[in-house]
């Protein structure tokens, strides 16, 4: 894409760590961070929260016809992960063979390169998910 540094940088805090929003009025928990509560709108009171990074695979696929910029990773697993706190997130699943991802798989957030489109551009880092293998 043609967007440069500011487009990516503005999102670093929310890409490096899983953050969301809780509305103190309706109790709703949302991902990604919302500036107003989608339920209460102006009557809501939103606070930013940190997610633990733990979740379960809710749906998944393997991308075999990648978009521009992701060819080098093909084939790669993508999933909708339901975080333990409730909201769902879309992300890649790594550290396993793409075919091994399954609904119900327990996963945890990890830190990876998200985008590295050109040899002279900015590298964007952020969260992906990997299978949980230990009980820590």
């Amino acid at each position: 894409m043609m967007q440069s540094a500011s487009y990516h940088w503005r999102r670093y805090k929310e890409l490096y760590n899983l953050k969301g929003t809780r509305c103190e009025r309706c109790g709703g928990v949302f991902f990604p961070v919302r500036d107003i509560c989608p339920n209460c709108r102006r009557e809501g009171k939103v606070v930013q929260i940190d997610f633990s990074g733990r979740g379960t695979v809710y749906a998944h696929t393997v991308i075999r016809a990648p978009p521009r910029g992701f060819e080098y990773l093909s084939p790669y697993a993508v999933a909708i992960v339901q975080l333990d706190e409730g909201p769902k997130v879309t992300s890649q699943i790594v550290d396993c063979r793409p075919e091994d991802v399954h609904i119900g798989m327990r996963v945890e957030a990890c830190f990876r390169k998200l985008r590295d489109e050109s040899a002279d551009g900015v590298i964007v880092y952020g969260f992906k998910f990997r299978p949980v293998q230990h009980d820590l």
Partner: protein, 398 residues
């Protein structure tokens, strides 16, 4: 929200036209738009100068061809300046949202003759670029950013749906088989080959479990319809088609934000409103043109439109009830899968097909017998926008 209380006019379709959909290497965006428009205008026997406003669906002239300001381009190339024109964008629902704006214009009583068009020129970019551009229909920051593609989004819907409802890979393939059969009878379809379930299952994986033959092609094309107040329709045509209702609804942009991944709430809301406004119910529908960007999308559409209950669409395909000649023909021209999907044009093309069916003008072998009431359904992205239109024969129009 019931708009019918404010409706001034009944709305009728008085002329239609569409280019074939396909890889039109020799035609540009403006040429495609002109071709469809001329066809509609000739059919209605009007002068282009009579058209009061243009509503043009186009998802991404800018990304595919570098051209924005598409509406201005069209009126210019048609020689119809200074008529006002507006480009409408709602991803894959651009054409049908444009149609709804044209419908609203006539229904409000402010206009007497408007043109609704849809055009997309997709084949001037290669491979990975088209995939990347179409990803603009999803949440670019929280879905496309991570390398998810459009097929990937629908693949996850298929994955979850199969898990919850037991839909099999073979059942899903039947949707494509049926659409290709209809497409083989449609001279304007992008893909005209007949395929089998085995062909689908052997085609290369695009995003598990979706294979190449589960996915609609990338097409160039354009379509155009002319709208007028129902009580003036017979000035233009002996076969006016009434727009019973045209409803639109929205939902979360992202798939992960949805209430239920296996349901498009936007379709449900739009359908419910469309049936209410037209005082009809799903049982009244004789045929439907639904949004089958991927085979799974047709399964969901059939259910979310109320044409069958949730989780039961596969049975209709096992029983071949959605073929022309069956209980509920769906996608009589081959749908997005076989007739093609020139994104901004598709919603309008669906109207064109429904009109032809209601007029009895479809080609041999693909005419729904006695078609009185038709439904078109169009979706933007993975379900953030949905438009449901109910059309009926205009015999009752004096």
């Amino acid at each position: 929200m019931n708009h019918s209380l404010n409706k001034r006019n009944g709305v009728a379709i008085v002329g239609v036209g569409a280019t074939p959909f396909g890889e039109h290497w020799r035609k540009s965006l403006r040429e495609l738009a002109l071709e469809a428009s001329l066809s509609a205008v000739a059919e209605a026997g009007i002068r282009g100068k009579d058209i009061q406003e243009f509503f043009i669906g186009n998802m991404s002239g800018g990304m595919f061809t570098g051209q924005e300001h598409v509406a201005a381009l069209v009126t210019d190339f048609l020689g119809l300046n200074p008529a006002p024109a507006i480009r409408v964008e709602a991803a894959c629902a651009s054409g049908s949202v444009a149609f709804r704006q044209g419908y609203v214009a006539i229904a409000s009583g402010l206009y007497n003759l408007v043109a609704v068009g849809g055009v997309e020129k997709m084949t001037d970019v290669q491979g990975g670029w088209a995939t990347a551009i179409l990803s603009g229909a999803m949440d670019t920051e929280w879905e496309a950013y991570f390398g998810v593609t459009f097929p990937g989004i629908y693949a996850m819907i298929a994955n979850r749906y199969m898990h919850e409802y037991g839909l099999t890979r073979e059942q899903l393939a039947k949707v494509a088989v049926k659409n290709h059969y209809h497409g083989s009878l449609n001279p304007n379809a992008h893909l005209r080959n007949r395929i089998t379930v085995e062909d689908v299952l052997k085609s290369p994986l695009v995003a598990d479990p979706l294979r190449l033959f589960d996915c609609c092609p990338i097409s160039d094309g354009a379509a155009c319809v002319l709208l007028a107040p129902a009580n003036e329709a017979r000035k233009y045509t002996d076969t006016p088609i009434l727009v019973g209702s045209c409803a639109q609804a929205s939902d979360t942009l992202s798939l992960f934000g949805r209430r239920d991944m296996c349901t498009l709430d936007a379709t449900r809301h739009a359908a419910s409103q469309a049936f209410e406004e037209s005082k009809l119910s799903p049982e009244d529908v004789d045929f439907a043109e639904v949004h089958d960007c991927f085979t799974i999308a047709e399964i969901l559409a059939t259910e979310d439109l109320g044409l069958c209950s949730k989780g039961r669409a596969a049975k209709l395909y096992d029983e071949e009830q959605t073929f022309i000649g069956g209980k509920l023909p769906i996608n009589t021209d081959g749908g997005l899968k076989a007739a093609g999907h020139a994104v901004g044009a598709t919603g309008v093309k669906q109207i064109v097909e429904a009109v032809r069916q209601l007029r009895g003008e479809a080609e041999k072998g693909r005419q729904v017998k006695g078609a009185e009431i038709g439904l078109t359904h169009s979706v933007g992205g993975s379900g953030a926008t949905a438009v449901v239109t109910i059309l009926r024969r205009g015999d009752s129009i004096p």
